[in-house]
């Protein structure tokens, strides 16, 4: 062998991939050829460098072919065992026994499933607490979808406005009425019995604010939140008086607002509505001051 060895053959030599004859031939050539011997040393050094750099990776146990065979045999035996048990027990018991037979992968699966269920539960709870209107079926029917509601004129603003949060139904007030609402409903939201509509009805139109109404609603909302922030501190006698007079004012607002709405070109009709709103603002101010105890007003 007079010709110099190429790099591929040298690499195969170092990797032990050559036949015995070729190994002897290459060995004898390297002993007589200084050029190939130098190339072989250089290639060996490179191999050592790479091996040292990837030592950590190579230390990781890689399943050998024999190991793979043992795993496959074990899995096959497991299947045969389960199949035998299935023939002896009922399907349901087999199902639960399978469920309770925790392997490593199944454990991970169960853990993942548990995490998903937990997140779903949390999301559902949060969603239920923050949903503004819930139409709960009261009588053997599921949740009613999009039941139209008549919204109290004085308590709800147009959508996407700051005053929209002014949902101020009080005990004794008109409040939010459902489609089939009873007059006795005093809660914030009323349960609505769902009856399947004959034909799909459009959703209720959002309440349109009359000119100048928004500022009153915003003021009332602020005062109302102020009062509600510490309503538990309100004495029962004050609470009763507050609710009684609030109902009176709310009725006046509803009546005057209806009149103002039906007489849009009559400024006097609007004046009545504003006077009713102002009465509510005055009442809320009085209650807020009284609840805070007043103190000395120097």
């Amino acid at each position: 062998m007079t010709r110099c060895l190429d790099e591929a053959k040298l690499q195969s030599y170092f990797d032990g991939e050559l036949s015995l004859d070729m190994m002897e031939s290459v060995t004898s050539h390297l002993a007589s050829c200084t050029t190939c011997a130098a190339a072989a040393r250089e290639l060996e050094e490179e191999s050592l460098f790479v091996m040292s750099a990837l030592a950590a990776e190579f230390e990781t146990s890689v399943p050998t072919e024999r190991l793979r065979e043992r795993i496959d045999a074990a899995v096959l035996g497991e299947r045969l065992t389960v199949a035998g048990a299935t023939q002896k027990s009922s399907g349901l018991a087999a199902f639960f026994s399978g469920l309770l037979n925790f392997g490593t992968q199944r454990s991970l699966g169960y853990a993942s499933l548990a995490v998903v269920v937990a997140f779903a539960a949390i999301f559902a709870v949060v969603k239920l607490q923050t949903t503004p209107v819930e139409n709960t079926a009261t009588n053997q029917v599921a949740v009613a979808p999009k039941v139209p509601t008549v919204i109290d004129n004085n308590s709800v603003a147009a959508p996407n406005t700051p005053a929209q949060a002014v949902a101020l139904p009080k005990a004794g007030s008109e409040g939010v009425r459902g489609k089939s609402g009873s007059e006795g409903a005093k809660g914030r939201y009323q349960q609505v019995k769902y009856t399947p509509p004959a034909a799909p009805k459009p959703a209720a139109d959002p309440v349109k604010l009359l000119p100048g109404e928004r500022s009153y609603l915003q003021t009332i909302a602020k005062l109302d939140s102020t009062i509600k922030s510490n309503q538990k501190d309100m004495r029962p006698s004050l609470q009763v008086e507050y609710q009684r007079n609030l109902a009176v004012v709310d009725r006046a607002i509803a009546a005057t607002r209806s009149a103002a709405k039906s007489n849009p070109n009559d400024p006097d009709a609007a004046d009545f509505m504003f006077a009713a709103y102002q009465s509510k603002v005055d009442l809320l101010n009085t209650i807020a001051d009284a609840r805070l105890g007043g103190g000395r007003g120097h």
Partner: protein, 369 residues
């Protein structure tokens, strides 16, 4: 030996100082149950005095002395706090806080306005008092100015000379024989004002309720404003010449009882579903007002016909400046689906005083006394 003597003296001094402090504390604040606590202080004749408790009846009386005196059976301690900015101690204080403390507050001044105690107080007749209680009643008499607030208690004020501001949530308010600027408000309680007059030309009289009734008798302030949501408003007495009276009511009735020679101009905004019942000779002004109701719906009601069925309308006299309606009962029209607001502008006599009535859903009565 010296050290032992020093220690004995130190201990004796400590014990003595503690005993003196305890005695001083007892003399100042401790009272036996049922024993009256009383404090007095010389003040400016026009001092501003504040007093507030959490619960209890407060009685304030003006007297001729330049001194305040506070008494209470329930209190364990009464203190005065001088709050005026000028610290000239040579002059009597002009702004004083009366601190009432009892078992519910301890002696901590931070618990101001939290005492539960009935308090009687005398102040100079020229003083202005500001009193507040949560549950108790308030009685004030013979002071220059009175600010009074109670949540559920009743407020009674008499002989105030310069100004009165009183507010209650559920209690009633009664003001008698007073003058000056008046502002009375109650949510659910009624308001009564008798014999009220102005101390200066710009003294206004304002009263407002939500559901409480309002009763005014002989209120002669030049400007009177009355607002209620569904209380009944009753005003009786002569009108101030060139006075301005405004009444706003949502659903309650408005009853104005005036002398037979009352002279006023009426501007009324009422629902066409409710009546304007007048015993006065009203003359319609045709300017800027809608036409009067059809004659068929106008019926007279003379004072002698009270309680009787209204008789058909007499033909109105030919007016010089407009149709004359004397006395009228504007009957309810046929029920209408929509709300219709009617404006009535009329004059009685020479129209000296101005009466504006806005009733959304109540009846307006103009009566003679």
């Amino acid at each position: 030996m010296k050290n032992r003597l020093f220690a004995v003296c130190a201990v004796a001094g400590l014990v003595l100082s503690l005993a003196v402090a305890a005695l001083a504390h007892d003399e100042k604040s401790e009272t036996k149950p049922g024993e009256k606590v009383e404090r007095s202080l010389a003040v400016d004749a026009q001092a501003v005095v504040t007093l507030c408790v959490a619960s209890g009846t407060l009685k304030v009386r003006g007297w001729e002395k330049s001194e305040i005196r506070v008494r209470s059976i329930d209190a364990t301690q009464i203190d005065f706090r001088r709050i005026e900015k000028t610290r000239d101690m040579s002059r009597p204080p002009s702004r004083i806080d009366v601190m009432v403390l009892n078992k519910s507050t301890g002696i901590n001044p931070k618990f101001d306005c939290r005492a539960i105690a009935d308090v009687d107080m005398e102040v100079p007749a020229g003083a202005t008092v500001q009193v507040q209680t949560r549950d108790g009643d308030i009685v004030i008499a013979g002071v220059a100015g009175a600010y009074a607030g109670s949540q559920n208690g009743d407020i009674t004020i008499e002989r105030a000379t310069k100004l009165v501001e009183a507010g209650s949530v559920g209690g009633s308010i009664s003001l008698k024989d007073s003058s000056g600027r008046i502002n009375l408000s109650s949510a659910g309680g009624g308001v009564e004002a008798i014999n009220i007059r102005a101390a200066s030309d710009d003294d206004t009289f304002e009263v407002g309720t939500v559901s409480g009734d309002i009763q005014l008798d002989r209120v002669s302030n030049p400007k009177v404003t009355v607002k209620t949501v569904n209380g009944t408003v009753t005003m009786s007495g002569p009108l101030a010449k060139s006075g301005s009276y405004g009444f706003t009511n949502m659903t309650g009735d408005i009853i104005l009882a005036m002398p037979h020679d009352a002279s006023f101009q009426l501007n009324a905004k009422v629902s066409d579903k409710h009546d304007i019942v007048s015993e006065f000779n009203l003359k319609y002004l045709s300017d800027a007002t809608p036409p009067p109701p059809p004659p068929a719906k106008i019926k007279t009601k003379t004072p002698e016909a009270k309680g009787k069925t209204p008789t058909p309308a007499q033909p109105p006299e030919p007016p010089k400046s407009g149709p004359v309606i004397a006395p009228i009962v504007v009957q309810k029209p046929m029920p209408a689906a929509a709300y219709v607001l009617r404006r009535v502008t009329a004059v009685c006599g020479t129209g000296d005083a101005s009466i504006s009535v806005a009733s959304f859903g109540g009846t307006v009565h103009l009566k003679k006394i």
